[in-house]
Amino acid sequence: MSTTTSPRPGTPAKPTKRRLPRWWWLGAMLGVLFVVSVLEVVTGADDLASSGTVRATLIALVPIMLAGLGGLWSERAGIVNIGLEGMMILGTYGAGFFGYHYGAWAGIAGALLMGALGGLVHAIATVVFGVDHIISGVAINIIALGAVQYLASLTFAGLPGGGSTQSPKLENVPSVTIGPLSDALGDLEGQDIFFLSQLAAVLRAMVTNLSLFVLLAFALLLLTYVVLWRTTFGLRLRSVGESPSAAESLGVAVLRYKFSAVLVSGAMAGLAGGFLAMVASSNYRDGQTGGRGYIGLAAMIFGNWRPTGLLAGSGLFGYTESVGLRQGGTSVHALLLGVGVLAMGLAAYQLYRRNVTQASVILGIGALVMVVWASIDTVPGDFTSITPYVITLLVLAFASQRLRMPAADGQIYRKGSAG
């Protein structure tokens, strides 16, 4: 399909992007919190913005975000990485093995290294041999699963508390609490003041029993942004994802950058697995990743290949999953109302934009959701568990056309193709 528009000479300089204010994301977060607060008041589902929910969300979003960061690194360099799931699996084992034998920090390092090992295989296959990225990723997923199961039955069976499918309990990664602040915020949360209590709940979750691994993950998110968008290394790395031949023609060692990006990608995914094993739970378990690598990839695409977007995507995912697991019946029921109202609003906006078909489709969906909301009191377990996936699909269906992936993403590049 020829959707690419050719350059237009003679067109006057026209700002193509509206500049968002610097702190837009803070405003956006507060806005979301406000909407949730309203929902809590309207529906009485008081777990929607409790500090417990926020904490659970933090724990649920970190592995997805780290996996997504893995995706971000490799796709920004033009390599699609569907093997994130496998690299994550390797990470869970790395955390299990090294964490058990040498302690928590060794566990983190082990997860990182095992993930990077998966990245290495992907890099060799895609960068050196020019194998189709998806094929390589699928193969890595198969190999990683088999290898880890084989290794686990070799190394964990017979250990006290271990078995062929699980490691013994792992040492905790240290966590921090800012006691007085946490207590004060707890008080405020308990007072049920509209919006302020919810805000307190969110802040409290961030100062109470916060694992250093969570901090590490957010530091990596920030670091990723700084490195990729503010340094020479990042500029070169992104350039090989946008136009490898241009990069090569300017003396950038394209394959080396792609190679290192995929290595970092694997390391990030490995850390995601390590987090699952060491913080979200406390041992390695066979099958622990449960498809979170794929979800990370989805969150990254959802986030338009950008760190802030990725954070939003994994937040959405972690939030809906946590809410569904905690008090799924009532909370997801309340969310239905939110989705319904949102759809109505969106439909109105599309109508205003004169996109009649889109407006009516959205309106139909919104109306359906509202009817469902009105006709049941709680949502059955089968449906709370699929909430994150349905919401992701819906959001993508309405937003995917605004997404822009790196121009050379997924393409195989051979050295000497410049010119």
Binding site: M1, V131, S136, A139, I140, Y150, D382, L396, A397
Partner: protein, 373 residues
Amino acid sequence: MSGLSPRLTRLLLGLSAPVLALLAAFAITSLVLIVAGDPVGGVWGEILTLPETRNLANILNNATVLYLSGLAVAVGFRMNLFNIGVDGQYRVAAFVAAVVAGEGWLPGAANIVLAIAAAMLAGAAWAGIAGVLRASRGVSEVIATIMLNFIATGLVAFFLRKVAVREAGSNTIGTKEIPEGSRIPGFEIGDGSTTEVYGFIFIAALAGFAYWFVLNRTRFGFELRATGASTTAAVASGINVKRMTITAMLISGGLAGLVGLPILFGDAYAYGSTFQSGLGFAGIAIALLGRNNPIGIAVGALLFAFLDEQSNALQILVGVSPDIVAITQGVIVLTVVISYEVVRRYGVRLEQQRVAGALEQEHRSAAEQETSA
């Protein structure tokens, strides 16, 4: 090799890749075993023993199922669509087929036909969601089908509980059993075997033939492959790419709908909570292994089924975790594509050499004529 005819060269090249891959996978797996201190000889001895008749039947049965899954994935691949959702599609479809067949609205064989049709429709519809989202909204079918897999799990569980019957003493739930007259009888190979080969194997073979015929011989198949080879060229030559996307997903999903049926009609007779899962993912590997070629997919399916079956006894007889063959399988997939790539580059070079050589010769003879004139 340049002396051979181009078709023969291509055939030889095509064959050398999988052989190379198998050797590499064999070596890497052995290496893992050696490093882990497991008995290499014992493992290969057990895996490479001649299967007994009943194991052979199991291999054929398992391969039938994997074959259908591989075909379903391959249809998408031929169009550059990556259907990760075969897993969800076949579970939705097997459930629907089990309900329809279990109700027994029609007698005997008619019931089978109805159930198969229902399964294909259900699989197609489930895949169609991803197709429509891709065509109309540009949602990556990879992400959409991943999400749909998870959603299928929840939905099927919900509806299964609605219609479930529970056999006395059993802790599983399932749909109503298919009436005796609406099962697909198997057949014995060799004598004395207690395990029959699924009668569905013929339907699978038919599906394979249909896949080959439609894709390689019909205009529709040409358009599908052309779209896969170059979307832009397809648009320019009058192919409606959006419609092709949806159609390809529908066909892929329809084939995926067949995946669970050999088990359903030949063995389980109901869809229950222990119905085999994960077949869709195996199908991806098998389609890649078979290079989207119906015969190749059959070989890949047989290979995977063979490894699965022969490794089953590893733990009992050799004391090695059968997970080792997952490593072998994954390594095969990876080495197959790598060796295909290596062989392809070699083939392209041969081709270029051949073309250039022929042109040069033409040129030379032309020059000679000129000088002699």
